[in-house]
């Protein structure tokens, strides 16, 4: 295992210490339980927005704490959902009197831990709503699975809801907005290589030099199918087709197109993919009106990509364009 770390057990703590030292203008970091809050939290009268999940997806979520996005993030161990005490403490820390929204990615662990935190918070008299994000079209959405995973769309939900909260919308409005975004966005990912979880010490899966996995998530979990390497253009088609046909997006739709790097994929490749993704969208009459290109929701050093499309309307565009000041995303401030 080749990593720039000290001990696997210390990675998350030391990362938090690094974040604390790096961004005292943006965030405060708390330990035991671990969470990161916006430096000026709680913001009085504003809905607080919290997300969290396993570490290893940086900049998500800790890098999105700040004005215009998240009020707090709760990092778990690498790829392991955080625990309810973290979310409870973070909820209390960001409650400005207008209630707190939990943005939860749809994984059994995340959902259960957030649920317990919300129950505890409600018992203490706090107003909490939770929205579960499940945008991954790689997973069959059936009664016989844990449902679709929450992946790339989460970044967009956090940005858009963060802007809405900043505008002064109510908890119900922001939660409904999160559900709306969740209903309008879809993602599909693929990997060229596995990642290595620090405490596991070896790649989660072995992928021969001439093969790739289609339909991977963000935890080094294997995908739905394995196949021979294809060109960038073919990969884009394989990712875009199931996205477009799922909602389904239709001619005339305006979308935000998000080409995400999984951590080990150079930016130069993401632009090559973006070029083709726009072409595919246009072939369907879909107009790309906003975009996001880069490693925003990663899977450690995995080489691969995910593509997210989100149907936009005037309100979503306004919220997307609103100012944001975080370590991982910045606009207008």
């Amino acid at each position: 295992m080749k990593k720039l770390i000290n001990k696997p057990e210390e990675v998350v703590k030391e990362e938090l210490q690094g974040i604390e030292l790096a961004h005292p203008d943006l965030v405060k970091v708390f330990y035991d339980p671990d969470f990161i809050v916006r430096v000026d939290a709680p913001v009085k009268g504003k809905v607080g927005i919290i997300s969290g999940g396993g570490s290893g997806h940086e900049p998500m979520h800790g890098g999105f704490v700040g004005k215009g996005m998240l009020d707090a993030a709760c990092p778990g161990a690498v790829f392991t959902s955080p625990t309810p005490d973290q979310m409870l403490a973070a909820t209390k820390a960001v409650d400005g009197g207008a209630g707190v929204l939990h943005i939860v990615k749809n994984y059994t662990g995340d959902v259960m831990n957030f649920e317990m935190a919300a129950d505890l918070a409600k018992e203490e008299g706090l107003e909490v709503e939770a929205v579960v994000i499940d945008d991954d079209v790689a997973v069959k959405d059936s009664l016989y699975t844990a449902g679709r995973r929450g992946v790339g769309l989460t970044v967009l939900v956090e940005k858009i809801c963060g802007a809405a909260a900043e505008e002064g919308r109510s908890l119900k409005e922001v939660a409904d907005l999160a559900r709306k975004v969740n209903s309008l966005g879809r993602t599909m990912g693929m990997a060229l290589t596995s990642c290595t979880v620090p405490h596991a010490g070896k790649p989660t899966f072995d992928l021969p030099e001439d093969e790739m996995e289609i339909g991977i998530g963000i935890h080094g979990e294997p995908g739905r199918k394995r196949m021979k390497l294809q060109s960038a253009d073919e990969v884009v088609e394989m990712l875009m087709d199931p996205i477009i046909s799922d909602i389904p997006y239709k001619s005339g739709d305006e979308v935000l197109l998000f080409v995400n790097g999984m951590g080990g994929t150079p930016l130069i490749e993401l632009y090559v993919l973006y070029r083709k993704a726009v072409e595919v969208a246009e072939k369907h009459g879909i107009k790309v009106v906003r975009n996001l290109i880069g490693p925003y929701i990663t899977s450690l050093e995995m080489a691969g990509t995910s593509i997210t499309m989100l149907k936009m309307d005037a309100d979503l565009i306004k919220l997307w364009d609103a100012p944001v000041l975080t370590a991982g995303m910045r606009k207008g401030i």
Partner: protein
Amino acid sequence: MVITRDDVIDWIKVYAQLLVEKKDYLTDLDSAIGDADHGANMNRGFQAVLSKLPGMEDQDIGTIFKTVGMTLLSTVGGAGGPLYGSLFIQAGKAVSGKMELTLADWADALEAATTGVVSRGKAVLEDKTMVDALTPAVEALKESVSKGLSLSEGLKNSAKAAEEGMIATIPLVARKGRASYLGERSAGHQDPGATSSFYLVNTAFKTWTNSHK
């Protein structure tokens, strides 16, 4: 023959020790159909439990179980945290105030524990989860109680049932948890959570039988 408070503490210590040994194996199982962290998660949780044991030693068994559960809840994370947390918290409620357990008490405790896991995780039998190891163990215990078997025979039966349940997860297609994303590709692999649950039941059998030999 009963299970004393010391037996319970021993059980937890031996299980924590076993997790150190089995950590990599559990993680390997989780690599195949999950995200390669079940071993590390369980180990982190039970190391935390170990460090809290000194404060628990003069509590009743119900309180000990609840403290273990709360500790797991705040240290394990992932699916394992709430599930093993609920398991111990519900077991604790079932034997609240008791300073020793009969086989029947233990059957009640593990039944409540399993019900806790099921109501938290909504898994049914053959979803390829820890429930597949726990449920047969509970049934074996209850049957042993109703047949009037000895403590050690009852424990042995439950361990055997848990093991069979664990092995039976291999061919299953997962319908809960992270492995369910794999669809058909999840078949052919043993479930990590069923494995750690088998160890739990098996460690009870081994530790408590040993101390009553």
